[in-house]
Amino acid sequence: MSTLMFFIGVYGFLTRRNLITILMSVELILNSVNINFLAFNRYLFPHKLDGMFFSLFIIAVAAAEAAVAIAIIINIYRRFSTINVEDVNEMKY
């Protein structure tokens, strides 16, 4: 099930043009990986807690990265007045 979620996130990442929806797909991917870690930890290694801590750190990293991504998106919007991925091509050769 987490595999499905992961690849739905990948599909969304490749397909969407709005930067914010790309960010949402990335969050989906990270979440699916979290579920995977916790399921493995619960059913295969019940006596160790490594998976849970790793998931905790993944959640923290995802939150930090989403914050920075939104700061970048807001900056892009100020400059280009659009958040389509295809319109932000000033540095394109």
Binding site: M1, T3, L4, M5, F6, F7, I8, G9, V10, Y11, G12, L14, T15, R16, R17, N18, I20, T21, L23, M24, S25, E27, L28, N31, N34, I35, L38, A39, R42, Y43, L44, F45, P46, H47, L49, M52, F53, S55, L56, F57, I59, A60, V61, A62, A63, A64, E65, A66, A67, V68, I70, A71, I72, I73, I74, N75, Y77, R78, R79, I83
Partner: protein, 180 residues
């Protein structure tokens, strides 16, 4: 464990449905709300797996923090009722093909592997254990990632503030570069 299985199936159906709706809906605000549902259902799954602390953290951080941030930025950067343009036909088919191929490959690999459950007793996940593990060195200790994450959070905060400052280096730099 019929009830457990039933709840797991119910949660999985909810999660998969809403994630599909998230990546294919035309209105951005609806996609954000679907993402919120996905995150809350994921937290329900964690509660079922008996990881209460992580479920609470997920609810607070993800559903309460990141989704709020996303909705903020949606409202700041676009019209609410603006529909995003539909993706071109070729692009969506090719990426769907790539995603499905990847999913099939992963699922085949997973189903082939025989997972063997150990017979050791489950360790109780209480707050005391979590707190102690987070701060101890040695075998069960996680103090190094803990410190590194605090540095990462500070760096992210500083970075986000510097990037999103108004009237920052963006405008002045371009004008000076043009003069030179």
């Amino acid at each position: 464990m019929a009830a457990n299985q039933l709840m797991f199936i119910l949660f999985s159906i909810i999660i998969v449905t809403f994630s599909i709706l998230t990546v294919t809906s035309r209105k951005i605000l609806r996609a954000a709300v679907y993402l919120l549902f996905v995150l809350v259902s994921t937290s329900g799954l964690y509660f079922m797996l008996n990881y209460q602390f992580l479920a609470a953290v997920q609810l607070t951080l993800y559903a309460g923090g990141i989704v709020v941030l996303i909705i903020f930025s949606i409202l700041l950067t676009s019209h609410i009722s603006q529909k995003t343009e539909p993706v071109g036909w070729k692009k969506s088919v090719f990426s769907a093909l790539a995603a499905i191929a990847g999913a099939v490959l992963a699922i085949i690999t997973i189903l082939d592997f025989n997972f063997s459950a150990t017979l050791e007793a489950a360790q109780e996940v209480s707050m005391k254990v979590i707190g102690r593990s987070l701060l101890s060195t040695g075998e069960d200790g996680f103090v190094l990632p803990f410190e590194v994450i605090s540095i990462l959070l500070i760096a992210a905060m500083v970075g986000a503030i510097v990037i999103a400052k108004k009237g920052g280096p963006v405008k002045s730099d371009s004008s000076t570069l043009n003069h030179q």
